[in-house]
Structure formats: structure tokens, C-alpha cells
């Protein structure tokens, strides 16, 4: 399973004064089983790009191929290719419409023409994946809490067993614990199924925990594409793209400027702590450095 984005351009409302270039000559590839993050400030073209990968938009120029099939076309092959991609929009709970959680999650599999037993099996599995209690199956999704609704919406996509799962800002509007849990579930799902995961976000701290590769978009163009550690520790690049540098990187950078011998490509808080402890133990002027930290 190979996603190839070739020279993709997208212009919204072409030929009017409101015309806006959302994507400009974007080319990239995503291989099977990769965990990729797409980051960029508001309006950088992230959502447009993932909608193209899901075959929901028609390119102004260029194309998106999934295993060689152009996904936006209206052929049977393109339809089959689109079926392999699952996309959860921002605030996916907005798409909920059924009377019960079971029926909501079963909607996708039913549209795929599966038989009853298989549908039930997939619903159980998907609800288990997002850690929703099976007793909720018969409840109305509109009676659930926001976080639970989000998980139902996610389960309804997982139940279709996509080979590529794209999540557009999946943690928006959740509390810190809800965010952590959701991402942990998504990661567990990816490890279990070996599927491709594309995560759109502008929270880099969060992304650092999940993806192994990061693509940075700015004004509709790819400005960086590389291993997470390398891209997310490049504060100059991230600032230029209008993104917040991960907190750990900011801290380590400040320490480094203050004369500490620390590496700055430690993205996670626990990695940063380890780095600081290590440096502290070996540092001659440790006391002075500590004062620096306290002063911050």
C-alpha cells in the first residue's frame, strides 16, 4: 500500500476574487505501516491535503495515487482505493446520526455490504479498540459525553478496517487526559493492525509521542519532511512555519545557551529530564546552571 502525492495543487473558488491557493505543487510518498504527522499553522493546507488523500476533492492539478490508482476519479478502481482510506474530520462527533451506538458504528461496515455476524463482530472490536463499554451499545450516542462521542465516531471509522487512517486534529477540544488516552488507543490500534497512520495536528508535543515522521506544511507547500526527532527539534524551521516548538526542545535549548552540555533533540518531557539529570551529574558549574533554571 503506497500513497503517492504527485505535484498536487488545489485552488479554492478558482476564477473569482475569493480564489485561494491551498496547495501548491505538493509531492510526497507515504509507505505501508508508516506513522506520519502533518503539521502546519491554520490555513497551511493540512486539511485540504488529507481530503485529497481520501479522494474527497478533485485536484486543480496533479494527483494522488494509492497503489497506482488515482483516487479522485469516478471509476470502480478509484472507489475501491478510497474504501481503503479512513478519514476522521476535526470534531468527528458532528457526524453522528444514529439512534444507538451500535448502529452508529455499524453504519460504515453496513455500507460495505458485510453480513450481520461480521458487522456485529467488527462493532465489538472497534468499541473495544476505543475502550468503550459494550453496555453502551444500545444507548443513544447523543446522551454520551463529548469524549465518549468522539470515541464512538472514531470507532465508526475503525470498524471499516481502513488500511490508512487519517485523523484531522483528533484531540481538539479534549482535556489533557482525554488527549493522552485517545492517542494511546490510536497508537495501540496502529501497532495491532500494522496500518498506515496519518495524524494532522499543530500540537507538536503530542505528535512527538506517536509519529515517526513529520511533514511540515506552510502556505500550501511542503517545507520539511523527515524523522520526527530531526524535524521537531529544528526550532528555526518550526518558528518560520508558525508553529510552537515542543516544550522540551525549548527548555533544552535555553539550557544549552546557558552553557549546559545537553542535546536539544529530546522531544518528550521524560527524555528531557533524563538529559538534564545526565548533564547535571557531569557538569562542573552545575550550581550556576540550576540558578539559571530557577530564574526561568
Amino acid at each position: 500500500m503506497l500513497i503517492q502525492v504527485e505535484n498536487l495543487c488545489h485552488i479554492y473558488v478558482p476564477g473569482s476574487p475569493l480564489a485561494r491557493v491551498a496547495l501548491h505543487e505538493v509531492s510526497l510518498q507515504v509507505g505501508s505501516g508508516e506513522r506520519v504527522g502533518i503539521v502546519g499553522r491554520t490555513g497551511s493546507g493540512k486539511s485540504t491535503l488529507v481530503q485529497h488523500i481520501a479522494g474527497l476533492l478533485t485536484p486543480s492539478e496533479g494527483q494522488v495515487l494509492i497503489d497506482g490508482v488515482a483516487v479522485h476519479e469516478r471509476t470502480t478502481a478509484a472507489r475501491a482505493a478510497r474504501r481503503r482510506v479512513g478519514l476522521a474530520f476535526q470534531y468527528p462527533e458532528d457526524q453522528i446520526f444514529e439512534q444507538t451506538v451500535f448502529r452508529e458504528v455499524a453504519f460504515g461496515p453496513r455500507n460495505m455490504g458485510l453480513n450481520k455476524a461480521e458487522i456485529a463482530e467488527r462493532v465489538r472490536w472497534a468499541l473495544e479498540m476505543v475502550r468503550l463499554d459494550p453496555v453502551m451499545e444500545s444507548r443513544s450516542p447523543f446522551t454520551l459525553s463529548g469524549g465518549e462521542m468522539r470515541r464512538v465516531a472514531l470507532a465508526s471509522i475503525l470498524a471499516m478496517r481502513p488500511e490508512v487512517l487519517i485523523l484531522d486534529e483528533p484531540t481538539a477540544g479534549l482535556d489533557p487526559r482525554g488527549r493522552r488516552e485517545l492517542l494511546a488507543r490510536v497508537r495501540a490500534w496502529q501497532v495491532e493492525t500494522g496500518a498506515t497512520l496519518v495524524l494532522v495536528s499543530h500540537n507538536l508535543d503530542e505528535l512527538a509521542r506517536v509519529v515517526e515522521r513529520v511533514i511540515v506544511l506552510d502556505r500550501g507547500q511542503v517545507v520539511a519532511d523527515g524523522p520526527t526527532r530531526q524535524v521537531l527539534s529544528d526550532s528555526a524551521l518550526l518558528s518560520a512555519a508558525g508553529l510552537d516548538v515542543p516544550q522540551s526542545v525549548t527548555l533544552l535549548r535555553t539550557l544549552r545557551e546557558a552553557g549546559w552540555d545537553v542535546r536539544t533533540d529530546r522531544l518528550l518531557p521524560e527524555e528531557a529530564v533524563e538529559e538534564i539529570v545526565h548533564a547535571y551529574a557531569g557538569h562542573a558549574t552545575a550550581l550556576g546552571a540550576l540558578q539559571t533554571v530557577e530564574a526561568m
Partner: protein, 265 residues
Amino acid sequence: MNLLLPGMYMAADSALHRLDPRVKMVAAFVLMVLAFAAHSLASYALLTTFVVIVAILSAAPPIALLRTLRTIFWLGCFMFFFRLFTTPGQPLVAVGQFTITREGLLTGAAQIYRLCLLVIISALLTFTTSPAQLAHGLEVLFKPLAQIGLPVREFAMVLTIALRFAPALLEEIDKISKAQQVRGIDMYSRNPLRQMQSWVPLFVPIFVAAFRRAEDLATAMEARGFRGTQLRTRLHQLHMTRQDLIAALIALAVSLAILGLERSI
């Protein structure tokens, strides 16, 4: 804003944009009535010239303006063929039991032309007048009706809100229909039954979203002290300037000229 509706407001700074909305609305209304009432070729020539000049002054892209005509394509076809086959007169061709007459061809064409003028005139109004200005203008123009107990101000408020939220609702519809497409609904199925089924997953979330939005808006308005029954003052007052007066006089002159032309036949 990634969607464009035919006739949607396009912010710019043209002579027409700066005009008082009341002048634009009254002039547009009178011109539309004349477009339907006129019969002579001379009136249409005058009206067309005037509309073209106004269109140039509006700074609206000609393509966008012509594109609004798409909205009446089917209506136009229907009216044309209706006139074509039902107008008695000098027969040209017979198709089955229907006959196409010379008069039918002419009145059919005239009918389409009137419809196009109508759409272009209203598009010129909505391209250059923001929803808020439209509602404000309407409120002022219909103020006399408040005397006989009609809720003019409330109606203007409802209109403002409806116009204001139409694009947001459209974006919502776009997002939800895409989300359900990912989940495998076939919105473009040729099977009418399947097509009907595809509406439920669309309508339920859209209604839920619309109600939620309405409730949020009501709360926000109340929190800022909005009371439907109390008189509100406005930040932007409408003032007739000299330009407005000149524009109104020109529109009046054109209207009188057309009336004169009609009389003289």
C-alpha cells in the same frame, strides 16, 4: 471560506459598493419591475446599456456575474419552451401536435432575456451590498409598516442572522457530507431509493449542528444584552450623500426614460 454561492457578497471598494443600500435596493426593485413590464426593443436597449454600465462600476468580475445565470438555466428552458409552443401566431414548424410560431419564438426569447436581466440586477445588488447592509436597508425602507404593528425590526434581525449563518451552514453541510462519504454513503447513486437513504445521515447531524449553533448564538446575544423588544441603536448609520443622490437621480431618469419609451408605442 472555501465555498462560493452564486450572488454572494464580494467585498471591494467600488462606486457601487459605497452607495447607500437603500438607493441600491429601490433602484434594483424599480429596474426589475421595468424589465418585466417593458415591451419595446428601445426600452431593452436602454435598460441593458444601463445595467452594463452599472456592472462595470460594480467592479464585479464579469465571469462571476454571468455565472449567476446558471441558477435559472432550467427555469429559463421551461419558460422558453412553454412560450414557444403555446403562443398563437404565424406557424413556423410543427412538432407532433404542437406548432412553433414566430410569435412564440420571439416572446420566448424575450422572456429569457427578462429573466436574465432580473438575475443580473439582483446579483449586482447582492455582490456589492453586505448582508448587514441589506438588512439595515430593508429595515429602514419597511419602517412605515411598523406603524401598523408588523415586527419590521425583528424581521430584519432574523434576516441578518439567516444571511450571516448561511455560509457557515454550507461549510457544515460540506464537511458532514464528506465525512459520511468516507463512511461509504453513495450520494451520487442513480438508484433513487439509495439516494433517499443517503439523506438521513446528512440531515440529522446538520440539524443537530444548526440547533446547537442557534442556541449558542441566543446565549451570546442575551449575554450582550440583546432584547428583542427594545429599540436598538446602530453603530453604522445610513446617510444619504451627494453621490447617493446623484445615483438615485440617474436611476430615476433611466426609469422615466423607459416609461416614456413604453408610452410612445
